[in-house]
Subunit: 151 residues, 2 copies
DNA sequence: TTTGCTGCAAAGGCTTTGCAGGCCT
DNA sequence: AGGCCTGCAAAGCCTTTGCAGCAAA
């Protein structure tokens, strides 16, 4: 049941991503379908290399520059978001639903969502013109801390 | 008076940085003195290139790899902190005094400190083991927004 | 059919590394 | 005097770009 729900969500996400590309006048190629599928099913962050390796399994002929080109295009379009984790660039599907923040596991790099947003509480000098903000909590998710405590 | 105070702070910071290096058994070279001075006096973030350009004025013979080596060593030691701004790596002197967060001007890259920390308020799942957190607010500082509104 | 997209290859940045000589301690 | 640090040079990533052929619309 949970599994079925997850598959449904992934399928929705894939369709959304492909629709977004189409709306921007982009062509839907096999490579881009692979890319959409990959990010819709990913639970954490993916590096360009991760993306290349994964795509190559389903689509052997893919090249590195195509990966980079599409990662960049999708990021500029707001479908993916970039993030620097351990000094290397990573990507994940941007959460389109509503505003929230993440806890990020520094071991497996999976993310856990929470609703609290500090911007509602913070009191700031009025002469600073706010554009956006970041708030992330780093640590070990339940699975990784369980592993660490059973050596 | 304010100027005098600032100079005093810079001087303190330089001494702290040099002492930290010395405590770690590192040698105090002219290049490292330049580096310490530069970061103690900088108000915002500096890229490796910025650092190289600035150091070269006071110390013409400096090389790029020395800049990188020392930036890395100082970061690992906790004297400097790294940050990705506009997709490029930047450095600044880590605030040693007390815990706080920053507003960062996306134009001039200067930072404004504020005391509010969201970790006191946020309520999280107990099975996530927190290690650290980031909270930054991006926008235009008073000077840059004033410039923007007078074209 | 018409562009846009891809793969190939090569170039371009940024950062790191090996080495001999010089400087800090 | 000894060993760390530097500058030079070159290599090593990671990422971008030019180009001809192919594929989506």
């Amino acid at each position: 049941m949970a599994k079925h729900k997850h598959e449904h969500d992934s399928h929705e996400t894939i369709q959304e991503m492909l629709r977004a590309m189409s709306n921007h006048g982009w062509r839907i190629t096999d490579q881009r379908k692979s890319l959409a599928t990959l990010f819709a099913e990913a639970e954490g962050y993916l590096s360009p290399k991760d993306v290349y390796e994964s795509m190559r399994q389903k689509y052997p002929g893919v090249s590195f520059d195509t990966v980079y080109r599409n990662l960049r295009l999708l990021s500029e379009m707001g479908v993916l978001e970039q993030f620097h984790l351990n000094d290397s660039l990573k990507f994940r599907a941007r959460c389109q639903s509503h505003h929230h923040h993440h806890m990020i596991c520094i071991q497996c790099e999976k993310t856990v969502t929470f609703e609290f947003c500090p911007m509602k509480q913070v009191d700031l000098p009025s002469d600073f013109q706010i554009v956006n903000h970041r708030f992330e909590i780093f640590g070990y998710c339940s699975e990784c801390s369980a592993q660490a405590s059973t050596p």
